[in-house]
Structure formats: structure tokens, C-alpha cells
Amino acid sequence: MSILSIRDLKVDYATQEGTVQAVDGVSLDVDEGQQVGLIGESGCGKTTLLKAIVQVLPRNGRITAGKIMFKGIDMLQLSKAEMRQLRWREIATIPQASMDSLNPVQRVGSQLMKLLRVRGGYDKRAARRRAADLFDLVGLDTERLMHYPHEFSGGMKQRAVIAMALALEPSLLIADEPVTALDVIVQHQILEVLRELEQELNLTVMLITHDISVVAQVCDSVAVMYAGRIVEQAAAQPFFHAPAHPYSLGLQQAFPNLARPRDELVSIEGYPPDLREPPSGCRFAERCPFVQDSCHDIDPRLELVGDNRLAACLRSGEMETLRLQAEDPALWQQVEVAQYFVDQPLPPAPSPKHQGGGDALAGLIEPTASPLESAEEAAYGGISKSPPNALGGDLEGGRVVAPLLEMRDVSKRFKIGGGLAGLLRGDQEQTVYAVNNISFTLRRGESLGLAGESGCGKSTTGKLLVKLLDASDGEILFDGADLAGMEQDDLLNFRRRSQLMFQNPFEALNPRFTLYRSLTEPLIIHGWKDEEARLQRVIETLDRVNLRPAEVFLDKYPHQLSGGQLQRVVLARALVLHPDFLVADEPVSMLDVSVRAGILNTTRRLARELGLATVYISHDLSLLQYTCDRIAIMYLGEIVEIGPSSEVINNPQHPYTKALIAAVPVPDPTIENPPLRIQEGIPRPTEQFIGCPFAQRCPDVMEACIDIRPPAITDEYSHMAQCHLYGQHRDSPKLKPGAEVTSGNTR
């Protein structure tokens, strides 16, 4: 029997620009003991739905129609007081950004106890006991009850919030994005906790997320929401194997999947419709590659399309065929062509130029390059003087090529707590070894991925590479010249040749500049005096990153663009000077799933076309596997493993790498993640280790690990790892496609 039953629910927001129908006729049932995952990209109405259920809509929000039955009670008929009684005792909610859901100035324990006493009627002693039990349940040390929220890590806060949600043994738990913004390992562990609790307590859960892999991990049923509607509802397994709606198809294809790497990911181009005036036909029609004329006129209803499966698509009958077609990314790009950009056929991928010449982009599309630019290129495009590096591997059929960039024993230390004030306070000056003795090379046209948990030093490395920071020790050679010594013209030239792409596209552009201004700034700085030439270059670059027609974008401000478009602009700005080298720091982590693939594809394509050396920084190994030739795994400022992508992913040697791989969620409920054998919590890199830095957390730690630094061992594939057990680990856990999800699979 369904515990929660929503029927034809409609929710409006009154805004100054008009009425937004955020939820438009949603019907959904949640059965007792069921775990329903609600998926959709941002703005599709999933959080509104949640707020409507517990009736905490903002002031301008209003339920205009429909019914919400909870255990047979019509919740919309309840008085405020009755509703309050219902909350938390019956329906507990883990709100979005639950990290901030704890009162910062109260101890976590007292917040929990207050809840138990005020809402649960516990007496003081019982409340204390129950609080301790709850902490136990979610895997938190009971001593932590006395701590303040800021003393908790993100994962611990999340556990505490889950403990609070479970405090009164609710019949229904609604969790809104419970693991977003958490590190992979933490994310994995929180999901594990949820999964265990589901089993132990037979919880009924409604989980809201944009990440289908999360749903794949913890839910047994899925509902996909799009533009205020539910477009598909199904049990988890059939859903992931055979989505019944084009949108679901797209979502599934858009996710990089470690288990099933793809050559090209699908990108669902375009944007959800304006919900102030929703289209009369299918809401997905605009972005659907399988659209037909009737789609624009007929609003498809959510209908039974199979065993316990509901979908809202006019072509649901042909789904078998469509599914096959959908595998082809080109199909999805046609949508893009038709709707948004005049796309040119791709030019044949040029072979990267390795000797001299330098600027590939200039050679390709640079008929109007200014004389100055050409002169510059002539002057600096000389042959690299740096020696070949064994670690660099060889992509060019045995020919050893001079690297564009070389890190030699580079370290970066930060000092904290020093200074006069620190001295006065008696603080010990602490040194943070953010980057510790790392070396690698990068050749023209090559792409390297840096992976690791947050705090591992990968972003610092990125900043060192573009000289936003200066190395404390070691040398960073760019085209043979040490970055440390660069000044004036040398520096300016380096600035022209190296660029950085930022994580948050909403911050990466000056909000007060038009896009033209933002893109032309680098040119002005580098002495392009001719306005026409600048304009020409800007337009060409915009065109390159698929922002077409480029002219339309010139006078736009950043806020007028969507995240995906913005990130393309950021890419354009990075490329406008025709650099040789690009660092992309988490380039898509802030973007909606549907557009991630588009950005990655464009970046990858241009890098390949232009012979750009690229460093990708990401915590997401599946993404790096998709984009990079080589991957380096960083831990506590050190590179613990580096090698060709497929080698690192499929044959990881370092236990840390294995843990990271194990933690990556896979958007397929049938794939069993290998067990994660390490705990969350990266220590602060304030000491230098004699032995292996990972020894503290390593599941296979030996005595030698503490005292003796493991050697860097490199195999014939240029696959290096620093571990005493190199090659001797017990069979590295492989992903097992096709295995059935069994209960309690993590223990």
C-alpha cells in the first residue's frame, strides 16, 4: 500500500515576471518500504515538490490543485498545527544543503536532544540515550554529541542530519540531494549508511537528486522529472537497462561510466522550457532528437508502457529502436544544430605539431592574425630545449618528443599561524605541504588528469602550472624556461601561451563585463591595438567553442547566459590568445549533467585539433578516464600513481587509487561497486612523512610503510606507482559488469 500518494499536484510561484508553474500535475506513489529516486536537472521542480509535500513553500508559492495523501490522510486539509505534528514524526526531511541545516551556535547533541524532547516527548535521560544510539546508528562517535557543527567534517554533518531525521522513527524520509558537494569517498560512505539503514529499519525513502548514479546505488524505483512533470517512472533495474523516455535516455548516456567507457558522451543540448508559458505539446520536444511534428501539438500523458512502467512519450512504442539510435552522440548533436547553432562539419583532426611552429590554432583559422602576433610566434616558437623524460611515456610511435612542460621535484609550502600576531598568541608556525616533490612532464597535445580527494594538492598544482602561485622548491620548466625566473616580457609571453579554465563559470567572468569585453581583455593586455582584429579573433574563438552565431553573444552579460554557455565562454577566453597549454580545474563539476558532456566534448575536440597540452583537474575519475591520455593520482601533495588512463583505471597499483575507483558511483544498479576499504578524512598535510604518506589510511599497511618511503616503480606502460606492494596486491577489485545487486553487498 502506498504510504504517500500524490495526485495531479500543481504548484505555482508568483514572481514579478509572471506565474511559474513549477510543478504541473504530478502524480506519484511511494509504497511502504520502497525507495524512490526522483531525478531531474535543476529547475525541473523536484525541490518544489518536496516543499509542497511538507508544506514549507515560500510565501510566493501556492498549491493550486491536486491532492497529497499520506497514510490515507489528505495533508492539504490539515491545519497548521496538525501539519506540524505530522512533520518529523511521520515525514522527516533532509533538506538540500543539509550541511547548513545544523544551528552553528548549538552543540549538535543538544540540537538532537532538543528535537527528541520537544517533538518526541523524551525525558532528558532518555533523550541522551537515544541521541547516543542514533549517533551510533549513523556511524558517529558518541563523543561528537558535545561538538559544534563547525567541528564536523561535511560527511559527519551529513551523518548527524541523517541521525536527526531518524530520531523520531518517521514513516517516510525525504532526502534532497543528500550527497551533492561531498567528496567521492564521503559520498560513497553516506550512501552506504543510507543503504544500510534502509535495510535495517525498512525505511521508506524518497530521494531527490540530479545524479542518476546515486539513485542507482540506493533506490529500487525511479521517477524522472522534467519541467514540472514526471516523464518516466519505473523500477530501478529496468529503468537503467532500458529507459523508456528520450530524456531518460539522454541522461543515462550523458554520464561517464567507469565500467563502460565510451568514446563520446551524449550531451542534451538546450534548456528546459520557460515554465511561465509552457509549450502546449511535449515539454521535451525542443531538445528531443526523436521529435516528430505531433510532439509539438500533443501533450503526452504518463501512461503504462510496460510492466509497472510509466512514461510520457508519444513514441514510447518505438523505444526499442530509439534506444539503439540514442547510443550515437552525433544524433544528440543534431538537435543542437537544429535549434541553437550553425555547426560546421568538424575539420579532420590534424596531427599535433611537435617541432616548432607552436600555435596550431593560428595555422588553422588565422587568416587575419595581426603582424605582431605572427612575429611573436616566430620569436617564441623555437625548439624546446628540455630533455626527454622517461616518465612521460611515448605517444608518437617510439619517437621521443621534447615535453612542453616539465615539473621537476616541485613543492609548494604554505605557512600558517606565523607572523607577529601568531608569535604573540604563541601559535606554532605550521607548514602545510600542499604539493610535495612532484615530477611529471606533459607534451604538446597530451592531456593529463589530476585526481584525488579535496585537499590533495591537485588545485595547487594547477595554480603552479599557470604561475598563479610560485613553487617553493623545484623547477617548473615551460618550453625549457623556468617559471620562477620569468619577468616582464618572458612572463607576458608565458601568460599568452598558458591558460586556465575555472570550475565555477558563474564566477569566472567579470559580471560587469560584456562577453566581448571579457574576451577582448586578454588581447588588449597582449598589445592587440587594432580593434577590428580583436573583434575578428573574438568572433572566431566563440565560433570555435560552438557559441554561434558569435555576434549574438558579444554584448551579453554573463548573467544572461546559462552555465553551459558560460563555461564555453570561459573556454573561449582561455583559447582566444591561442595558447599551447591549458589547465582545466574541475571544468564541469558546477554544471548540470545534461550539458557536462557538451563542454567536455568541445574541450577534448579543440585540444585534439589544436595540439593543446591539457591538464584536467577533477575528483571524478570517470570524467578523467573519458578526457585524458594519462591520469595522475595525488595524495597529500604527492603523486602516488601516474600512467596511461586505461592502465590506471583498469590496473590500479596503489591502494589509494583503488579506493578512489571503488568510490565512484556507477549509474547502473546491476554493477556492484567493489568494497571501499578506507575511511573518509584526509589528514592535514602539515608533516612530512618518512614513510608512505598513505600509511595512516591504507588497508594493507605494513610496518615498512611507516618507516620506508616506497619506491616509485614504473612498468613498461610508463605506469608508475609508489607502493611497497606494487604488483603484489591481491587481485585488484575489478568492476563486475552484470553482477546482480545483492542485499548487504558492501560487507
Partner: protein, 336 residues
């Protein structure tokens, strides 16, 4: 509490000392800029060059500037503020220590009234956001903040004291009563004193209540948007509990800091009101001292006020770090 906080307090304290030293030095230099002869207030029928020299010596004004500065610092360190020019037989400290309690009473009473009204008003305004009450209330508050206090004080004086004769017009009490107050305690126990305090307190509170009110209101609005407040609502707490226990409690923190800072600044800022109501406090003495060219006294009063302000700023920092565990924790990392 923990070691971090202790070090933080010590650090802040040393920092305050440094700030105070700079202020004191500036003060010393500032008063060397004084246009008139420091002995101006000593003139009478006879005055010989010799007596002038003797007086200069008495106030240490004949020594080189550097030496004067050292002596000045040493004296301040011992809280030795010197002799006044214009009050015979009284040291600066005598005068100021008689004034200080009065200033503090007025400051505290007005701040307490202002903050009580302000905090409650702020909560009400936040709760009734967008209503007519809120608009009228905010406008009224803005008006009280925009009106010159002495003007308001004078108008109140004119009605309450002169026209309707409801309240006394000046001072802290008639001398026939005052001379029996042997201790501050006697003063505080006297209803006469409190009656005299009503008008100046009310005038100041009228002006001062704006800050806590607007601060509380905006803090409330901000806090009410926070996730943990939403969480409280989701947890089914009553609206009253959400507003008072969770939101108001958290929104109070900056207001409390503002109150602490306010004590310091009010003591320096009550100058005008003290003059309007002939309130025998630091501010009135300062103005008189400046008018009388009694520089040691003016300097002493200035120093005392600055000392209180720096001290209250220090207290505010500490208080904030104690009240808000986040600040306390980040205190160590917060390299100044």
C-alpha cells in the same frame, strides 16, 4: 576555555594595547598643536615671567618634547593624568573619576532601553515584514536616527520640563539631595537620581534604538532564510519556537556585539546630550576643558574615553568569539 581561545584573547589584548599606545601618542602630538598658551587659564591681575616659568615647570612643559613624551607615557602607565589647569587642588583623575560613573549610568541605562526596544522591535518587524506596521515603524526609527539628538532633547525638555513641569530639566539631582550621597550606591538608591535620568535616557534611547532595531530586523530576515531555520520548521517546531529559540537567538549575536561596541562609542558620543541636560559626565567636562583651554583635563578625558572604547572593542571581539563557536575556532587560523 580551550587553549586556542585563551591565546586568541591574549593576542587581542596585546593588539589592543598597541592600538592604545598609538592613540596615546597621537593624542600627545595633537595637544602640542593647541593654538593657545597652555597657561591661558591661569591669568589674573599679576603675572610675572618668573611665575610663568614656574608654572611651565610645574606642568613639565619646559622639558624637551621627547622627554615630555616619555614622562607622559610613564604617567599614563601609572594612570597618572596630572593636574588640571583650571580646577584648583584637583587632579585630572579626581575630576574624571567623579564624572565617569555618571556617564556610565546614562550610557548603560539608555543602551539597555534602546536595545530592549530595538531587539523586540526588530523581531516584530521581521515577523511582520511587508506590513504597514513595519513600514511605519521603520520610517519612525529612521526619523529618530536622522533627527539631531540635541534638538530632540531640547524639544523634550521644553515640553516635559518647562511646559508641563513633569520632569526635572538638568543635572543629576538638586544639591541638597546630592550632598548626602556619600557613595555611588547612595546615588543609585535615590529616586531623585532616577527621575533626573529619565529625560536624557529617553532622548538617547530614542536615538540609539535604531541601530539594534534595524540590525535585529535584517539579521532576523537573514537568519530566517538559513537552512537550519528551515530545518526547524521541517522538524515541526512551533512558529514561536522557530522565531524566538532558533532565529532570534542566532540573530542576537551581532546585536550583542553591537551593544558592547555601543557602550564604548556612547561614552564618547554622549557629549552633546550631556551638555543639553547639564549631565555631569565626561562629555560635559571635555567640552568645558576644551573651552577653558584646560589641556591636561581635555587630554585626560579624551584618553579615558579612548581607553573605554578600545577596551569595549576588545570585549566585543572576545564576546563574539565566545558566543559564536565558529569565530572562536577560526580565531587561531585568523592570522591578523
Amino acid at each position: 576555555m580551550n587553549r586556542g581561545i585563551a591565546y586568541y584573547i591574549l593576542g587581542r589584548f596585546l593588539q589592543s594595547l598597541m592600538v592604545l599606545w598609538i592613540i596615546v601618542t597621537l593624542l600627545f602630538l595633537l595637544f602640542r598643536l593647541a593654538p593657545s598658551n597652555p597657561l591661558a587659564s591661569y591669568i589674573d591681575t599679576t603675572f610675572t615671567k618668573e611665575q610663568e616659568a614656574a608654572l611651565l615647570a610645574r606642568f613639565g612643559l619646559d622639558k624637551p618634547l621627547g622627554e615630555q613624551y616619555i614622562i607622559y607615557l610613564l604617567n599614563l602607565a601609572r594612570f597618572e593624568l596630572g593636574d588640571t589647569f583650571s580646577y584648583s587642588g584637583k587632579s585630572v583623575l579626581d575630576i574624571l573619576s567623579a564624572d565617569l560613573p555618571n556617564t556610565i549610568y546614562l550610557t548603560l541605562s539608555s543602551l539597555l532601553v534602546a536595545y530592549a526596544v530595538g531587539v523586540l522591535g526588530g523581531i516584530a518587524m521581521a515577523a511582520l515584514r511587508g506590513s504597514l506596521f513595519e513600514r511605519v515603524g521603520t520610517t519612525f526609527t529612521l526619523m529618530t536616527r536622522a533627527a539631531p539628538t540635541f534638538w530632540v532633547g531640547m524639544l523634550l525638555l521644553s515640553f516635559f520640563a518647562f511646559q508641563w513641569k513633569l520632569l526635572p530639566s538638568a543635572g543629576i539631582g538638586p544639591a541638597v539631595v546630592r550632598y548626602r550621597w556619600e557613595t555611588e550606591w547612595d546615588k543609585l538608591m535615590s529616586p531623585v537620581f532616577w527621575r533626573h535620568m529619565i529625560l536624557p535616557t529617553f532622548t538617547l534611547a530614542l536615538y540609539l534604538h535604531g541601530l539594534p532595531l534595524l540590525l535585529m530586523r535584517s539579521n532576523m530576515l537573514e537568519v530566517l532564510d538559513q537552512d537550519y531555520v528551515t530545518m526547524s520548521r521541517l522538524a515541526g517546531y512551533s512558529e514561536w519556537r522557530v522565531m524566538i529559540h532558533t532565529a532570534a537567538r542566532n540573530a542576537m549575536l551581532p546585536v550583542l556585539t553591537a551593544l558592547t561596541l555601543g557602550i564604548g562609542y556612547s561614552i564618547g558620543g554622549n557629549v552633546v546630550i550631556e551638555n543639553v541636560f547639564s549631565w555631569p559626565g565626561l562629555g560635559r567636562t571635555l567640552v568645558r576643558a576644551v573651552q577653558q583651554a584646560d589641556y591636561p583635563l581635555a587630554q585626560g578625558a579624551f584618553f579615558l574615553i579612548a581607553l573605554i572604547i578600545v577596551f569595549m572593542n576588545f570585549i566585543a571581539d572576545i564576546l563574539y568569539s565566545l558566543l559564536d563557536p565558529r569565530v572562536g575556532a577560526s580565531a587561531q587560523a585568523q592570522v591578523s
